[in-house]
Symmetry: C2
Subunit: 285 residues, 2 copies
């Protein structure tokens, strides 16, 4: 049994706090809070949002919500920026995001059932100017998508995993088996809720497959089985402290995008509670 | 230097997690999340809300918000239940709270400038049926209030501290000096934000004065000085992990009521983010 170094330092700091007194206590207490935040600020990953969270809301509402939550990364869904958007529309989209302090860091998920749809998805990602294409190519299309990656050296394809409800890419293991012999830029968007509902352990899957985890969808689930449904982060079965420690251990450098699928007509409190929980976990894990 | 026992156990558990693999990892990961929640569930204190958070909203909106946040304790402000409410109105108030899973655990803050106002405040607390009266008696009234406590053996008076903006009860130390020679049921509502803005350390003040801390107002502050303003919990200067550890160390058994004073026309996201952050801290501290 070993003690995680970060936890040890924090536990030791806590012990020191307990022993100190008076003005020293004040200084240590403030330093303790600052130290937690510094650890989080040193993280290479960022909190973000999956566009699907806001499927019932326009871009302005989406961006206002992210600004209030102090979250700065958005994976762009087509209902906010259509696949046939003009370059002018794309520029206007990015300008609006920037005015709210938000970066559109990726696009998708985009389904690809044939070569024309793959062509369109990759061309769209390049025109939007992102490095992450979250996509769902049919299994048969993977050899073609592999060739597309050679044509688009700036793009990583993050295949979205679906969990037990759909008979394609059900868990991270399934995706890994499909992509492991292709271009190293063909990987996955690790949806931790779908992975858990599919009977897998997202923390362990991140450890095993991190070299091909390019994006993550964050959510919590009421049960670690198909019967589970999306709940506010912290209220469900996923061990977020363990997940954050694993993200640090494997050096995850992507975005953790909240894909909140509860109360989708009025998700704002659930979104905010989820980010609050995550921020504390990042400050303390 | 000592290692806090709880932190040590958690750090060791984290270490164990890192070493385990496969199916064992799944079981341990789920157990880790459950263990954190069990620690929080064993806490003698509860998260709640100060009625003032909802000064611009009616009782139904208040209770719906608390239900969504999974928070079950409310300190009742007079704009939700007037001091001259009839017994029937009080019964209807409690019934409505119960229908949302919320308990009105205290009343106030109530200002008391003279004996008649003190009489009214204590009688109201008894008629409402609560054990906590958050009050602000003028300094001159303290001997009279001390007599009232003898007449009301079921009630604890939690004097609200105000911080640097008002020249009365500015910090926990000031309240302690005022009440320490009176009835042990004369104590304070430790407003951690006001205490911090008053130049004190709320964690250390809880340690020093916990025998007379009967209620707490939770918030965060942008600065640890009079220049600070209320922000979402976790975004400011208060070290909540240290605070929660201290609440456990001193065996605090009261309510930690969020008094959120930012964006009071639309506070719901900030309220939810604050509770999310606190829940994670309670699960991890």
């Amino acid at each position: 049994m070993t003690i995680n170094r970060r936890s040890f330092i924090k536990a030791s700091a806590a012990g020191a706090l307990m022993l100190s007194a008076g003005g020293l206590q004040t200084a240590c207490s403030a330093a303790g809070a600052a130290r937690g935040r510094q650890a989080a600020e040193a993280d290479k990953f960022h909190l973000g949002a999956a566009g699907y969270t806001f499927v019932k809301f326009d871009l302005d509402t989406t961006l206002k919500t992210l600004r209030r939550a102090d979250v700065h990364y958005l994976c762009i869904k087509d209902f906010h920026l259509p696949l046939n958007a003009t370059d002018e529309q794309i520029a206007a989209f990015h300008a609006k995001c920037a005015s709210y302090g938000v970066t559109g860091y990726g696009v998708g998920p985009i389904y690809m059932a044939n070569e024309a749809e793959a062509d369109r998805a990759f061309a769209y990602a390049r025109r939007v100017g992102v490095k992450i294409l979250v996509g769902v190519p049919s299994y048969e299309l993977l050899p073609y998508v592999n060739k597309k990656l050679e044509q688009y050296p700036e793009i990583k394809l993050a295949i979205h995993l679906h969990g037990p409800d759909i008979d394609i890419y059900q868990t991270a293991s399934v995706i890994w088996d499909k992509v492991k012999d292709y271009n190293p830029r063909m990987g996955m968007c690790l949806d931790i809720g779908h992975d858990l509902r599919g009977g897998a352990d997202p923390v362990e899957d991140l450890r095993k497959y991190h070299t091909r985890v390019f994006d993550m969808h964050f959510k919590d689930e009421s049960e670690a089985s198909k019967a589970g449904w999306c709940v506010e982060i912290g209220r469900g079965k996923i061990d977020f402290p363990a997940l954050v420690r694993m993200m640090r251990k494997v050096g995850y450098e992507g975005v953790c995008s909240l894909e909140y699928e509860k109360d989708m007509d009025d998700p704002f409190m659930g979104i905010a509670e989820s980010y609050g929980y995550l921020k504390a976990v990042c400050n303390m894990a």
